[in-house]
């Protein structure tokens, strides 16, 4: 009998949805990047992302599954990735354990003719790595290859000031906890404002995740955030729809 892990790692076991990240330019949203959101095999328990990644953690197979996700993502959306940024989640533990990860990514990008500068590696679950020297050495390899680095869930848990100062991300992704409903929450806006200032001082840009209303959008742009993501702007979508999205017609995606 095949295990869930085998089904995940089999060809076609990872299904990917893509959520656009927009840049607000002259008050209008323009496609900036797409975040790849991996799901497990259709019909399995791992079709739900929380179950998928909880299971992968418990099997201690982050490296194998991260590699499978990267391959599934780049092979399914290389046409888009040649002309737009693609953000791919990677476990911090993978960067600690897999010294060949940058090489693997580089070879895939060469195969699909995707410029490495179009790839954003979004580091998740920073609490789990235990060997900072190896983590930062592999992070450095990614940077030297031209890959941009993002940190998500900023403001919560291990995405704290220390992690930001040490990782120096190109993109600071503010957690939806602070963004959704921030138009009516002065304290949440104060937290966003402080992250905008920090990103500016550290030379990065801020992405506000969880934009779910015009109010949210107006509030974060008033605080100086230019990169936005959320259901109000565009839902995660399969690659077939994504192929029609380009910076030129990003406005259509918002409507």
């Amino acid at each position: 009998m095949s295990t869930l892990l085998q089904e995940i790692l089999d060809h076609g076991g990872i299904n990917v949805f893509y959520q656009p990240i927009f840049e607000i330019v002259d008050g209008k949203p323009v496609l900036f990047a797409v975040e790849a959101l991996s799901r497990g095999p259709k019909g399995s328990n791992a079709e739900k992302p929380d179950v998928l990644f909880e299971y992968v953690r418990r099997k201690a197979k982050e490296v194998e599954v991260d590699r499978a996700c990267v391959k599934a993502i780049l092979s399914s959306m290389y046409m888009v990735a040649r002309r737009a940024l693609v953000s791919i989640n990677v476990h911090a533990l993978t960067l600690e354990r897999d010294d060949q990860f940058t090489q693997y990514l580089t070879e895939l990008c060469q195969l699909f003719r995707i410029p490495l500068k179009n790839v954003i590696m979004e580091i998740v679950e920073q609490q789990r790595y235990r060997n900072p020297a190896r983590f930062f050495s592999n992070l450095d390899l990614l940077r030297k290859a031209g890959v941009r680095i993002a940190v998500d869930d900023i403001g919560l848990g291990y995405s704290n000031y220390r992690a930001l100062v040490e990782i120096k991300p190109d993109l600071f992704k503010i957690d939806r906890y602070f963004v959704t409903g921030c138009g009516k929450n002065a304290h949440a806006r104060a937290a966003i404002e402080s992250i905008v200032l920090l990103a500016d001082r550290l030379g990065g840009r801020v992405v506000a995740e969880g934009i779910e209303s015009d109010d949210d959008l107006e509030a974060v742009t008033a605080l100086g955030v230019r990169l936005v993501q959320g259901y109000h702007l565009a839902l995660p979508q399969p690659v077939q729809t994504l192929n029609a999205v380009s910076p030129r017609n990003a406005q259509e995606v918002c409507e």
Partner: protein, 128 residues
């Protein structure tokens, strides 16, 4: 049968057992999930709230008694979930371990499906 709102997780490495139990309980209106191994069961328990988990004592040929690991995990993460252990071979030691960990019921395999359903009703204190 009116088993609405009961959320059940079945844990067994035998797909035929899972399929039979799933069909039986789903027909009774129970919301049923299945897991084939310990880590899959744990991921489902973390991501859902189950009223009852029915776990086979052995989920692989390894020496680890994984059904007890499922029970131990539930008692750490979800105290209100009832746990029923299924097993073909139960030694007194294992039975005592399961009781000490807070198993709600033990069912020897093979067991008729209506008996398993009756046990679920009993531990929940309501009819399916």
């Amino acid at each position: 049968m009116g088993g609405m709102n009961i959320h059940l997780l079945l844990v067994d490495d035998d797909p035929t057992v899972l399929a039979a139990l799933h069909k039986y309980f789903a027909a009774a209106g129970v919301d049923v999930d299945c897991a084939r191994e310990l880590e899959e069961a744990e991921a489902m328990i973390v991501s859902n709230n189950y009223d009852v988990v029915i776990a086979d004592l052995r989920l692989s040929w390894s020496s680890v008694i994984e059904g007890l690991e499922v029970l131990r995990f539930i008692r750490r993460h979800s105290r209100q979930t009832h746990v029923i252990i299924l097993s073909a071979h139960v030694s007194q030691d294992i039975r005592e371990s399961a009781d000490a960990l807070g198993a709600d019921a033990f069912i020897p395999k093979p067991a008729p499906l209506p008996y398993i359903a009756e046990t679920v009703s009993r531990v929940l204190g309501r009819a399916l």
